[in-house]
Subunit: 226 residues, 2 copies
Amino acid sequence: MPVDPHAGVEITAFSQVPPPAQGLVRDLRVRWACDEIELPYRARLMDAMAPRPPEYLREQPFAQIPTYHEGGTHLFESGAILLHIGEKDERLLPRDPAQRGRAIAWLFAALNSVEPALQALFSIDHFYAGEEWAKLRRPGAAEFARLKLSRVSAWLGDRAWLEDRFTIGDLMMITVLRILNYNGMVENFPNLATYVASGEARPAFKSALDAQLSALCQHQLADAEI
Amino acid sequence: MPVDPHAGVEITAFSQVPPPAQGLVRDLRVRWACDEIELPYRARLMDAMAPRPPEYLREQPFAQIPTYHEGGTHLFESGAILLHIGEKDERLLPRDPAQRGRAIAWLFAALNSVEPALQALFSIDHFYAGEEWAKLRRPGAAEFARLKLSRVSAWLGDRAWLEDRFTIGDLMMITVLRILNYNGMVENFPNLATYVASGEARPAFKSALDAQLSALCQHQLADAEI
């Protein structure tokens, strides 16, 4: 269990998030990577629904989570943090240069070629559902998300992972595909559903999700006691 | 001039693109990085407006450009390619681990925290302008893009670059900010306008843009002669 209040690695995460985002917030990616290599970390929690303190913008210029602090290394962006953690341990990022490059290509692909389309649909469904533009745009946004899923599915074929073995590229892609957990679109591609389930079956994923949800639950309990 | 038909590095780029995309297509990022460190490359051109050959999906799973080939290394995603090129030369990516991490954080931030908002506005203005949803959505999309610009501007302050010196993080951020070249929103933040101009003034940027536009012009001329 790598959550350790005395760990040298500190990440930021949320103590409170709206229900649709629970289990999806991006600190999950970092917790998962840490758990894969038994890297202890401590979490500094903030309320997602409260304004971030102004000084937090010097730590995270976009007022988002997670950040990552380890000695003189101060990182933001879940992609950059996964790469940093991957470089610590071959289990997350192959040492062979060609294989390493492929893992990193998928890390970027998940964030730049897949996530924006899936996030746009998620936002329409959860944050803008009542707005006229969202109703008109939804079919096109769903089709664009479906196209992206079809591209990943076609690449994946009957393989277990995007390349020969599990890497930070898979870790990121699986967390991105989980954005659509609520609507069944991933399940229309059986190989993608199997792929996501394979990721979620990893002990490190489970312990990371438990740690994320536990932080939320404890905080809600504390609020209830006030 | 690093474009060299006999170079060991090959990238893919477009020979034809719609006018709004000219000078913005993502091979520019790779050409610019190569030019910064005098890394010779050759370009394999494809028509953006024609269907990609099916076999190209094994090379680029999302049917996009650029790809990058160098010996046994086969990459896609402009972010992954910039990181690979950066690792060749300290002029693009510092060797100090803490500074290296910051450059990589900005590389991801440009692609995942800034580009999706700017690209959404660009798409509304160039690809969906006649649609009702686009008219209704535009104010919100413009406000979201403006928020992202304000975050980068607040971080940048009066510095020349995002961190102490030019890196692949700046190279990527500047190409992302240029997506809004057409509408003057960046110019509302004078420090961002200066920042983009500083990037565009670099000899390597100019030669990269020339090479990209030259590939387009030569192809159009060839078409005209047919």
